[in-house]
C-alpha cells in the first residue's frame, strides 16, 4: 500500500474571502499580532477579510474549565456562524487555537449527531432569532499564513538568517495542542508532525530543530493557569519544553497559539526569577514569536507597532541577527510622548537603550 503519511498531508485552504474571529488571549497579550495579520492579508496581499464587531468570545476557555455546557457553547458557536452567514461568507478564519479546536469539534459533533445540529438551530432561533449555515472551510490564521508563505516571502526584505554570518537561524516550533491533536485533518501535517510552522520558518530560510519535547503541551491547562495556586502545572510543563530545547541553542521559538506564545515568553522570566536559570547562553532568554508576528517582521513591519515591546523576553537579539533596523527609542514611547520604562527583571537580562 502506498502509505498516507499525515506529515505530508496538505489541508485545503481557500485563497480568499474570509470571515475573521478574534482570540481573547491574543487581544489581551498580543494586540499587535491580530492587527498585523489583518494588515498583511488586506493591504499586502489584497485579500477580502471581513470582521463583524458583534462577534464574541467562543467561550472555549470557560468550556475547557468545565463552566459552560456543551449545548451552550454549540449555540454560541452557531451565533458566530450566523454572523458569518449574514455577511455572506463561508470561510471562517480563526485567530485562536482553542477556538479553532472548538469549531472543529462542534462541526464534528454536528456531523456525527445531526440531531444536535437541529437542536442547536432551534436553540439559536429561540434565543436570538438567528439562523446559520455551516462553513465550507475552517481555517486557522496560521493555516492561511502557511498557505500564503510564498507570496509573503516574495514580498519580504528579510530572511531567518544571521545577516553577519549567513548562518540559518535555528527555530524550534511549538504547535498549539488544539491545532491538530484533536482533529489531525484540521491542520497541515496532522497531529504528530504539523508542518504549519516548520514550513513557514523554512520558507524564510530558518533551520528547523526537532527537540525531544516538541509535542509536549505548553501547560496552559485552562483551570490550572487561571487558578493562581495551580499555576505550577503550567510552569512545570513549559519548563519541560525549555529543558528539552536548551541543548539545541534555538534562536527562536515559533508558535501559532496565543496562549502558548504568552506562556513560553512569561515562564522563561518566571523560571529565571525562581531558579536563576535562563535557557539561552547570554541570559536574555529565547525570543518567542507567533506566526503573524514572524510574518509581519519578515515583511518589514515596525516591531513596536507590532507590539513586540509587550514580550517579556526581548526580541532585539533576534532582530539584530536578522538585520532588522528598528528605532530603539520608539520602543517605549507612546503617542502622547515618552513613557515610563518597564521594571527590570532580577535575572533575565533586558536592555532599555
Amino acid at each position: 500500500m502506498t502509505p498516507l503519511l499525515w506529515k505530508d498531508y496538505q489541508k485545503e485552504v481557500p485563497d480568499n474571502h474570509y470571515f475573521f474571529v478574534r482570540s481573547c488571549i491574543r487581544q489581551t497579550f498580543f494586540p499587535g499580532a491580530e492587527a498585523a495579520l489583518l494588515d498583511i492579508l488586506r493591504n499586502s496581499l489584497g485579500l477580502d477579510v471581513f470582521e463583524d464587531r458583534r462577534h464574541t468570545t467562543c467561550t472555549g476557555i470557560a468550556y475547557h474549565c468545565d463552566l459552560v455546557p456543551l449545548e451552550t457553547i454549540m449555540t454560541v458557536i452557531a451565533r458566530q456562524l450566523s454572523l458569518m452567514t449574514e455577511a455572506g461568507y463561508r470561510h471562517l478564519l480563526v485567530s485562536c487555537v482553542t477556538s479553532f479546536g472548538i469549531y472543529l469539534e462542534m462541526l464534528d459533533m454536528w456531523q456525527h449527531h445531526p440531531e444536535m445540529l437541529e437542536q442547536t438551530r432551534e436553540a439559536l432561533w429561540k434565543s436570538t432569532r438567528r439562523s446559520f449555515e455551516l462553513p465550507v472551510a475552517l481555517v486557522h490564521t496560521s493555516d492561511l499564513v502557511y498557505h500564503l508563505r510564498k507570496p509573503i516571502a516574495d514580498r519580504s526584505p528579510h530572511r531567518l538568517v544571521d545577516k553577519s554570518t549567513q548562518r540559518a537561524l535555528r527555530v524550534v516550533d511549538h504547535v498549539g495542542c488544539h491545532y491538530a491533536k484533536i482533529f489531525p485533518a484540521g491542520g497541515f501535517g496532522g497531529a504528530e508532525f504539523p508542518s504549519v510552522l516548520s514550513g513557514l520558518a523554512e520558507t524564510f530560510g530558518g533551520e528547523m530543530v526537532d527537540y525531544p519535547e516538541r509535542r509536549h503541551c505548553c501547560g496552559f491547562g485552562f483551570r490550572h493557569y487561571l487558578l493562581q495556586e495551580n499555576r505550577g502545572y503550567s510552569l512545570s510543563n513549559s519548563r519541560i519544553k525549555f529543558e528539552s530545547m536548551e541543548a539545541f541553542a534555538p534562536d527562536l521559538i515559533l508558535t501559532n497559539c496565543p496562549g502558548c506564545n504568552m506562556f513560553l515568553d512569561r515562564w522563561q522570566y518566571t523560571l529565571a526569577e525562581m531558579s536563576g536559570k535562563t535557557y539561552d547562553r547570554e541570559g536574555k532568554g529565547i525570543p518567542v514569536l507567533s506566526h503573524e508576528e514572524l510574518a509581519a517582521l519578515m515583511l518589514g513591519r515596525d516591531p513596536w507597532t507590532l507590539g513586540l515591546q509587550m514580550h517579556q523576553v526581548q526580541l532585539e537579539p533576534l532582530l539584530d541577527k536578522i538585520g532588522i533596523v528598528y528605532q530603539a527609542r520608539q520602543k517605549y514611547s507612546m503617542l502622547a510622548g515618552a513613557a515610563s520604562l518597564p521594571g527590570e527583571p532580577s535575572v533575565l537580562k533586558v536592555s532599555f537603550q
Binding site: 468570545t57 451552550t72 491547562g221 493562581q228 527583571p345
Partner: protein, 211 residues
C-alpha cells in the same frame, strides 16, 4: 433519581470519549497532567468502564478528575479512538450538576472560576481581557505586564487595538444587544441553570461551615 452511570451516558462526550479501553497506557504516557500530578487517565477510563456506582460517586467527589489540563494529547494517540479528555469533561459536568464537586478541594475551585471566567463572558463578551490579569495575582506576567497595563489605551491603540473603546476591532466594547444575545443563549441552553447548580454547591458549603 437516575444512576450516575446513566446520567453520564446521557452526555454525548461520554460515548464520544470512551467505547472500550484496553488499558495500554498510551494516554497516561503522553499526559502532561500525569507527569505533574498523581493522576492517571488510563485508571479513570478503567474505573468508569467497570461501571460501579460507588466508584463513580467517589470519582465525582474526588480530586482526580480535576487534574486534567484539557490539552487532548490523549486523543491523538489512543489506538481505540477513545478520548479520556472528553470523558473528563463529562465527569466534571456531572460532578458539578450533581453537587458532588464540593467534596473535593479542586472541585470547589469551580465556584471561583465560574464567578470569574464565567461571569466575564456575560459581562464583557470575553473570557479573558487585560484588566482581569491583575499584576498582584499574576506575578509571572513580569514587569512588562505591569508596564503594559499602566500604558493601557496608549499602548494598545498604538498596536491597533481598540482597548475597551466603542466600535470595531480588538478588545472593543461589545455593541448594544450583543451581551443580551449571549445571555439569552445561556438561558435557553442551560448555561445559567448549570451555574445555579454551582452556586447551590457554594450555598451548601456555606451552610456546612457556619457554626
Amino acid at each position: 433519581m437516575a444512576s450516575l452511570l446513566s446520567q453520564l451516558k446521557d452526555d454525548i462526550r461520554f460515548s464520544e470519549g470512551l467505547s472500550a479501553c484496553m488499558n495500554c497506557g498510551i494516554c497516561t504516557a503522553v499526559c502532561p497532567a500525569a507527569a505533574y500530578f498523581d493522576y492517571d487517565p488510563r485508571r479513570i477510563c478503567q474505573l468508569v468502564q467497570t461501571g460501579d456506582e460507588q466508584d463513580l460517586e467517589n470519582l465525582l467527589k474526588g480530586e482526580e478528575i480535576w487534574m486534567c489540563g484539557q490539552c487532548l494529547s490523549c486523543k491523538a494517540r489512543c489506538p481505540r479512538g477513545n478520548v479520556p479528555g472528553y470523558l473528563i469533561q463529562a465527569l466534571r459536568k456531572l460532578s458539578q450538576q450533581s453537587g458532588h464537586f464540593i467534596h473535593s478541594r479542586e472541585g470547589r475551585k469551580q465556584i471561583r472560576l465560574k464567578r470569574r471566567i464565567g461571569h466575564s463572558i456575560l459581562e464583557t463578551g470575553y473570557c479573558v481581557h487585560p484588566q482581569m490579569v491583575e499584576p498582584e495575582t499574576h506575578p509571572e506576567q513580569g514587569p512588562v505586564w505591569v508596564w503594559a497595563l499602566e500604558q493601557g489605551a496608549d499602548l494598545y491603540r498604538r498596536c491597533g487595538s481598540n482597548y475597551y473603546g466603542e466600535g470595531e476591532g480588538g478588545l472593543r466594547k461589545m455593541a448594544p444587544g450583543v451581551l443580551d444575545e449571549l445571555e439569552a443563549i445561556f438561558e435557553e441552553t442551560g448555561g445559567l441553570r448549570f451555574w445555579e447548580a454551582i452556586e447551590r454547591g457554594a450555598e451548601e458549603l456555606k451552610l456546612n461551615t457556619e457554626p
